[in-house]
């Protein structure tokens, strides 16, 4: 049983950028580091992996100090039990799939190594691919190989750097399921780096929002989505995500049906609606939007030049409007309003 990760990552980069984030992950917990490109996410990965030394703070994994500039402790990457799944896999192009997966498996007898390799090949369903080279793999296959390679080295900490962003939509959904399964089986702390809120919401137990090298909010998917602390978080992660069942563009969510312009996919899905795409009216609106209903505003929150309105019946939704609209319509908690959403604004993503 692996122990927790307790880290405070301080890395000073030349261009005036600095990373300064506390990070604690319990065993069997998946934390997502969610932020835009350039926020310092990859720097955090390289620091935890031992590829970039810290300038301050420390990294403690399972009770062992891996990096602590104050005491001049630095355990290099090859001596850390940290597995990394890289964004574009970084599989060794001159090796077969089997050799890639087996690269980090070099302990014990030859038989034990072969058994271990066989196990990981089976677990990630790579049997048909063992003799292929990375160049001959699809994106999804390559990512499974990368995951197998990282897990086969039996790390105490698993780092996933944008594991799904290089994949097309179909293999992304499959790989997300594969990831969810294997994350659940991995006993140590897991860190998921992503810029995609959906990915973070679906895979992580806790989400840390990172902006400009700092953590700006920590919480569950629910916390982040419903109570974004900054404009930035609201924009990045404040989308409405509603799990439901889709059939030819009709998404049934807890007895209520949303009409989407997207006919695919079907089955278990997430309907996504950006808060800005939701219009709020005092009177029954006439027009093209195919989704219209009456509801009551349960919460009004101001974020600078925007206001987020929440409703809970029939669907938990957040709408984003301007302060002028709030004034003109005289909106407050308890106001009865009409909601309208165009079918083209409702995205559907397979779950």
């Amino acid at each position: 049983m692996s122990g927790a990760l307790q880290a405070h990552l301080v890395v000073q980069r030349d261009e005036g950028f600095s990373l300064d984030i506390p990070l604690t992950i319990e065993p069997e917990q998946t934390v997502a580091l969610l932020g835009p490109n350039g926020a310092g996410k990859t720097t955090a990965v390289t620091a935890l992996a031992g590829l970039t030394p810290l300038d301050g703070g420390s990294i403690n994994l399972d009770g062992k100090v891996l990096d602590d500039p104050a005491t001049k402790t630095f355990v290099p990457a090859e001596d850390r039990a940290v597995g990394v799944v890289f964004q574009d896999q970084v599989l060794f192009p001159h090796m077969t799939v089997a050799d890639n997966v087996g690269f980090g498996l070099h302990h014990g007898s030859r038989t034990a190594t072969r058994q271990g390799l066989k196990g990981w090949i089976e677990r990630l369903e790579l049997g048909a691919l063992v003799d292929r080279r990375p160049a001959d793999l699809s994106g999804g296959e390559a990512q499974r190989v990368a995951l197998a390679r990282a897990l086969a080295s039996e790390p105490d900490l698993l780092l996933l750097d944008e594991p799904l962003s290089a994949l097309d939509a179909t293999s992304r959904v499959q790989m997300r399921h594969t990831l969810a399964d294997h994350l659940a089986q991995f006993a140590g702390p897991r860190l998921l780096i992503t810029h995609d809120p959906t990915e973070a919401f679906l895979l992580a137990d806790q989400i840390h929002i990172i902006e400009g090298g700092r953590i700006t909010q920590v919480g569950t998917a629910e916390d982040i989505r419903l109570r974004p602390r900054t404009r930035f978080v609201a924009d990045l992660a404040g989308a409405n995500l509603l799990p439901g069942t889709a059939s030819r563009g009709d998404v049934v969510i807890g007895g209520h049906t949303l009409h989407s312009a997207e006919r695919e996919p079907t089955g278990q899905v997430l309907a996504t609606i950006h808060p800005r795409a939701i219009a709020v009216h005092r009177n029954h609106p006439e027009g093209s939007p195919r989704n219209t209903w009456q509801t009551t505003i349960t919460r009004v929150e101001h974020y600078g030049d925007r206001v987020r309105l929440q409703t809970s019946v029939p669907l938990p939704l957040t709408a984003e409007v301007t302060p002028e609209a709030v004034a003109a319509l005289d909106l407050s908690e308890g106001s009865v309003v009409w909601i309208s959403i165009k079918a083209t604004e409702i995205g559907i993503e397979a779950q």
Binding site: T46, A49, G50, L51, P76, A77, E78, D79, R80, V82, G83, V84, F86, V90, F92, P93, H94, F103, G104, H106, R149, A150, S153
Partner: protein, 268 residues
Amino acid sequence: MSRRRSDGTPTRPPVILIVLGLIGLAWFVVPLVGLLARTPWSQLDSLLSSELVTEALRVSLIASLGAAAISLVLGVPLAWLLARVDFPGRSIVRGLVLLPLVIPPVVGGAALLFALGRRGFIGEPLNDATGLVLPFSIWGVVIAVTFVAMPFLVITVEGALRNLDPRFESAAATLGAGRWRVLRRVTLPMIAPSLAAGLVLAWARALGEFGATITFAGNLQGRTQTLPLAVFAALETDRDTAVALSLVMVAISLIVLVGLRDRWWRMR
């Protein structure tokens, strides 16, 4: 006249390009034809088995393979240092390594003589201590051709190391591979095509080396006379032998070129 395919390329290349291209090709072909036309085919057998030819071939093979081996052992680490270690004066060091590519080989040979000759600042103490005399010996030939040939390997391998995405080595490190294992299992295999290309370039340059060799090691038949030196000497006295020697070198070059071509292209 201006009929074009649907993709926009002209159906026939411009006449001026064809003419110039053919003249360019002739530049290479004409001398070769001259050589073949002058070849005394009926006596070739006896010419090729003459002592002059076999000894020059032996010296050339020893010198060129020795140069390739030394370039490999010393040139790869040098290339690695230039590519991966940011030390002060790196650009000056790189310039020094490239110098043999641009200075006339005869100047290189003279410089070697001043350093390693019997009166040279290294040659003299070396001679005093061990009795070893480098100039006018087979060692002198190896040193001279290596001086000229090694830069080809260094620049080729350095370029490959620079172009290698460092994340492959990082990935290997996160999988528990130490420096040596990373080098052996990831870095070297990934730059293997460039390493092979650099090695062949260095070897071919060593085989054809003339100026530095004759200046530093002289032209002693059986000891320091390589194939190019033998051709030069024979041109004055025995043209048939000169032609036979030249054919040997053309044949060796062709064999290497054809033999490596497939592998080369496939690996790229």
